[in-house]
Assembly symmetry: C2
Homo-oligomer: 749 residues x 2
């Protein structure tokens, strides 16, 4: 049995007590500061659905399909989230979802309450929704069309919905056709008048084909249905349409109890309800089997106690969020902070069932975790930069489980993950980001994993030549020339290479730590070959380079703004990539001709509007002024400005895709007053915190300190002095080790 | 375990011996006279696929989809058979099929061998086929595109295919998208490199919706595949097509081993084959579960012995067909005769698995047969007329199992079947035809079934008023007025009522036999109300009648020729229905004004081209002249003429839909020289046989006689004298009882 389940069981046990606590306490808890609607528009792609920390299930109000009233609709454009704050046409609760991503996937197994005649098309059965409320582990709304109040909560692998119906015929639809994923196909069986089981195909994240797999489910109803049935959207007929009443239409199968399969199918349960009668439905999922989904339900949620489940979810969240407490700051700042911390606990999420089983990486076999949890949804190109260092600091146990999950993926598939989703490598984005994640974790003192095995994995992707290198497609040129040449219109050659340099620099640090000196030198040298891209003469910037060694001629450093295609750069332009050598900022400074030129160039990017706050390549830029003595105020200024301008207590309060918690991690770090400029370098760059005091409870199973306090003193504009435990720091950096020894970091303004 | 399986086991056991027998015998066996291609064009809708008598599986070359070279294509028109002799574009062997029906259904689970690149669209992977050969239990062809020779055979529930490949990459596709049915949806799992399991939805026979159900299968390969995968036809995308490479296309899932579902899916196994290497595949089916399909395979066909399976199938057929032996006649006549007898053993077919389980009628529950077999595919509006009387005569054991199956359907669903298909009532055609089938069986001496229960069933459909009467939708008018009035344009009111009269006359006979005299009188009286339709004054024909008692005004007795819509009549016109009161031919004669007018009217139908040889309402017409003394030669003349003109040893050798063996039963009876004019009346009408001698082995478990010989003497044009066991018959009728006492029926010309 996994740790999560044990934890949940204990939490459920002590629940009565905690709820009483909450009732009598006047003080606001961490969870009270969470606004789950933050990020649910403005392309933040988070959602207000009910979920527990790292839950496999989230119960999300799906409102992005089927209505002309929708501002954003998956059927009209590239669309990557099951929910938008701007839309109000609700078509059911989806039970597996991604949060903060830029590609469509999951958003399936929709549960929808209706009244009157059963309809199968979401265009017809959908309803306007109002009265939305959300808090950690809870979401509620009112369906105008039906006068139904819905409330949802969840445990790790089971969603629980409560529908309050008016008097008359009420229905609960299970729509396996509608979904965010572009994969299709589902099967179901109505087991009896209280249970439906089945599975829904998923896959094709970012329109890539990988190891597509079904998500299995069991849905159980608190009340026996009076009648039930299935439906299927029938394919268009060629010649025989005249004789068929269901050509291209939804066909109903009343009282159906056999197996049903198709591209777009569903099932319904119908009830006679009294006024305000509540019917509850729990939906358990598994990526292994229907049997496992049923076991997940029986272990995690044997009954239908909504309030208890909701309270357990909240306690779960409180436990996670209260690792950090803050004093001072405005209510909005507290809300932004705790919501960002909340968003860091959506992904990576648990994928193993309560019995420990999970789908093996890149295969259809079944693995079993021995201890801890198996995690999935690793958006590593994003999260290696700050999310995982922050996990290491505050949640070392989970971070180690995540690293162990990544190593297991290597053992199962032969390669570390890059953008892993439900045990499938989606090949999204570039680089070799598992290396910095794992090395950084190791160097922060979390070393309890198989270092030899993982070194072998890293060495493999850093050195394997040819097409068999699944992580570094341009390895041959990179090794031979030291850079990836620009060869194809709008290729991402420079972006690829910049990521390889960071990975190789991390690998060098790991080699050094393991006493592999030759490797250290080799990979360190390789990591500095980024200089090949530096155009000293004309632009003084990183610039795509051709196979013959010349620079790309028609270079425009602005090209690539706003996610336009850009020669050599992926999701960015030369401004946003030039300082993307966090492992050698001093070397870059030298290339640029010294501190002044470096500072001027960096400040110019902010001043001239070249900085992209919504994507990762330049996410560390504001923190780089600390490398120049006397210019640290610029870091403080830019960090404050970006927080104030772009992070808000509002649905549009995240400036772009949250990227599985990466923008949120940026906000959490920035509001605490420090930031990990370069993974693998355990120094933190310092700026002023947003709060008078931040207290981090350190996990003493991993760190010597009990708690770390970051205290702000004075009311000057910029930092004047920094003390650690009363001793003055001579620089605007502090090492991870100094922080995890606990004590007080005092920042005087 | 069912009788069929026991029989099969024994047959397999004694097989070596029988094959030796065959090899050394110079004499042609019954099976050698079967030409399975007869009926495979000219709308006969039979096929040359491999099947054992009453087999659940038939392995049929599917060639009616995907090519412009097809003369007949299911995608261009109403089409009801998986095979046409006129087509040569082969797209695989379908494993569950209907034979001799007029509506599309089944024709699914296609197995297709190819070479080179794997293709999923039947338009692309299909191949021209040549060198077709077929005999009972065996079919073979050559695929021109791939230079593959295919051979197939079957046991009751398992198809066995043998593919002889050229050297190189060879593939076997399992296409669950292509099919004859208009139902869609399938699921599969590639269990390992030698096995695929899954299910395919079926239903919508004649475009009706009923208890649609999946057919489950397990496919096992004789050789482990080098690689394998699945495919799915992707639905059309709405907005995101630009980013997807598989929009509206077949998407492949290499090495897929999870569950796959969709409207159109398939799987493939790929092999490296040497020149002429044979790979075998066995496909077991079940209508209960995948587990049962696997058990069917393990019990019926544990190995991959093609020759043994083929020989067992042939022996099985020989056992069935050799119940009748013939002398004299031409080779073509023998072939027509034995092929007709062969076609009587396709449907009804067994639906129970080897463990006795089967799907309950009109429900998703599972039943279990205690003894005998459970039969399905009851096209009763057709087969009650002659097929079942013939089964009673020659195959009483099967006929009793069929009757018991029908009674069980009543017990399971509350109603006797009308057009039952795989435990679903399809509501095709009209009347209450289970009554004459069962009463006729009973009156022929086969009484070993629950008569009280079945009488209750018959009484229910004959008397239940209102919409709850599932078999007789117009029961209220029928009971109140004695006829069904013409109310809706082109309704089938007269056809409905004529069938009810026949059913009620049978019910009367049954009541009489059971000593229920009041019921006897009641139903007999009702059965004679057909006279309400007789238009004495104007047309001297059966004519639609209005609710107010007047006849339908715009009456045209020819309207309804060639299956055109006809007011009041279903699939026919007034000519073809006027004599369709077989239970009261003498009464009809009186209505018509006597023997002469009767004879003239009847003969006129033949002479003026109003007789439809291809459908059932007038199928008994040629035999009616025997009711008029001195006119019997006309029966002999018309029967001979129809046989000669319409039944041939050629693919077009059945004049229309075989109707699950009904036209074939007509041919068998007619060629033996007698015919059951009216079910429930156990008299046979006599004409001259096509052979010098016909010998029927009687089943002594049911009948007193050991064998019945029908011998023809003389070379006159018409019959001069008929003797039974040396005693002259005084009429051109002989009773069933006289036949089953054995002996010799001598017909002197």
């Amino acid at each position: 049995m996994s740790n999560n389940v044990l934890r949940l069981a204990i939490l459920t046990f002590v629940l009565a007590l905690s709820s009483l606590d909450a009732a009598y306490s006047q003080e606001k808890k961490s969870t009270d500061w969470v606004n789950p609607f933050i990020g649910s528009t403005n392309y933040g792609t988070t959602n207000p659905g009910a979920i527990v920390p790292q839950g496999m299930v989230s119960v999300v109000p799906f409102n992005v399909s089927g209505s002309a009233s929708n501002k954003w609709d998956k059927d009209n454009q590239w669309w990557s989230t099951p929910y938008s704050w701007d839309n109000h046409f609700f078509t059911g609760y989806s039970h597996v979802n991604l949060s903060g991503v830029g590609c469509p996937e999951l958003g399936v197994i929709l549960l929808m309450p209706t009244t009157g005649k059963v309809e199968a098309s979401n265009k017809v059965y959908g309803s306007p929704m109002t009265e939305q409320k959300a808090s950690p582990g809870f979401y509620s709304n009112h369906l105008e069309k039906y006068d139904i109040t819905t409330e949802v909560t969840a445990s790790a692998r089971v969603g629980l919905s409560k529908f309050k119906f008016p008097e008359g015929q009420s229905n609960i639809l299970l729509d396996l056709g509608t979904g965010l994923t572009n994969e299709s196909g589902a099967a179901l069986r109505i087991v009896n008048n209280r249970e439906i089981e089945g599975w829904r195909m998923t896959g094709t994240f970012c329109y890539n084909d990988g190891t597509e797999r079904p998500v299995y489910f069991v849905a159980r109803f608190s009340k026996p249905a009076k009648s039930f049935g299935a439906w299927k959207k029938m394919p268009q007929m060629t010649a025989e349409s005249a004789w068929s009443s269901t050509d291209s239409a939804f066909k109903f199968y009343p009282e159906f109890q056999a197996q049903m399969a198709g591209d777009s199918i569903g099932a319904y349960m119908t009830f006679d309800t009294e006024s305000n009668e509540e019917v509850l439905v729990k939906v358990a999922v598994s990526y292994v089997s229907i049997e496992n989904a049923r076991q997940n339900m029986e272990v995690e949620m044997p009954g239908f106690n909504f309030e208890q489940t909701r309270a357990a979810a909240k306690t779960n969240w409180e436990e996670a969020l209260s690792r950090v407490s803050v004093k001072g700051g405005t209510d909005d700042q507290k809300t932004i902070f705790y919501t960002a911390l909340y968003h860091m606990h959506i992904h990576p999420n648990v994928i193993n069932d309560v019995n420990g089983q999970y789908p093996l990486m890149e295969s259809y076999g079944i693995g079993e975790v021995k201890e801890g949890d198996r995690y999935t949804v690793f958006s590593l190109w994003d999260t290696y930069r700050n999310f995982h260092p922050l996990m290491s600091l505050i949640y070392p146990e989970q971070q180690l489980d995540m690293v162990r999950s990544m190593i297991a993926m290597y053992e199962e598939s032969g390669w570390l993950p890059k953008w892993e989703l439900n045990s499938t490598e989606t090949h999204v984005m570039e680089g070799d980001p598992a290396i910095p994640v794992i090395v950084d974790t190791y160097l922060r003192g979390l070393t309890d994993f198989d270092t030899e095995s993982v070194y072998e994995a890293m060495y493999k992707s850093a050195t394997t030549e040819g097409a068999q290198n699944k992580l570094r497609p341009d390895i041959d040129d990179y090794l031979a020339k030291g850079y990836v040449p620009y060869t194809t219109p709008f290729d991402n050659s420079v972006s690829h290479a910049l990521e390889y340099y960071i990975a190789d620099w991390n690998l060098a640090q790991f080699a050094k730590a393991l006493g592999k000196d030759a490797d250290y030198k080799r990979f360190l040298a390789q990591s500095l070959r980024y200089k090949e891209y530096y155009d000293k003469d004309e632009f003084q910037m990183i610039r795509p380079r051709m196979a013959d060694g010349s620079f790309y001629k028609d270079f425009d450093p602005k090209q690539g703004e706003n996610f336009e295609p850009s020669p050599g750069f992926h999701e960015g332009n030369a401004y946003q990539y030039t300082f993307c050598v966090p492992h050698d900022i001093k070397g870059l400074m030298k290339l640029m001709g010294g501190k002044k030129k470096f500072t001027k160039k960096l400040q110019g990017i902010f001043d001239d509007g070249h900085y992209d706050v919504a994507n990762e390549p330049d996410i560390h830029y504001p923190w780089l002024f600390n490398y120049v003595k006397g210019e640290e105020w610029r870091t403080q200024k830019e960090v404050s400005r970006l927080l104030n301008e772009h992070y808000k207590n509002a649905p549009g309060g995240i400036p772009g895709n949250d990227d599985c918690g990466t923008l949120s991690a940026w906000a959490v770090y920035s509001m605490m007053g420090f930031y990990p400029v370069c993974p693998g370098n355990t120094d933190y760059s310092i700026a002023q915190p947003a709060f008078d005091e931040v207290k981090i409870e350190l996990d003493q199973n991993f760190y010597p300190g009990k708690e770390l306090i970051i205290r702000t003193k004075g009311d000057g504009e910029y930092i004047r002095k920094i003390n650690k435990d009363g001793k003055k720091l001579n620089r605007y950096f502090i090492n991870h080790k100094e922080l995890v020894s606990g004590g007080v970091l005092e920042i005087e303004k």
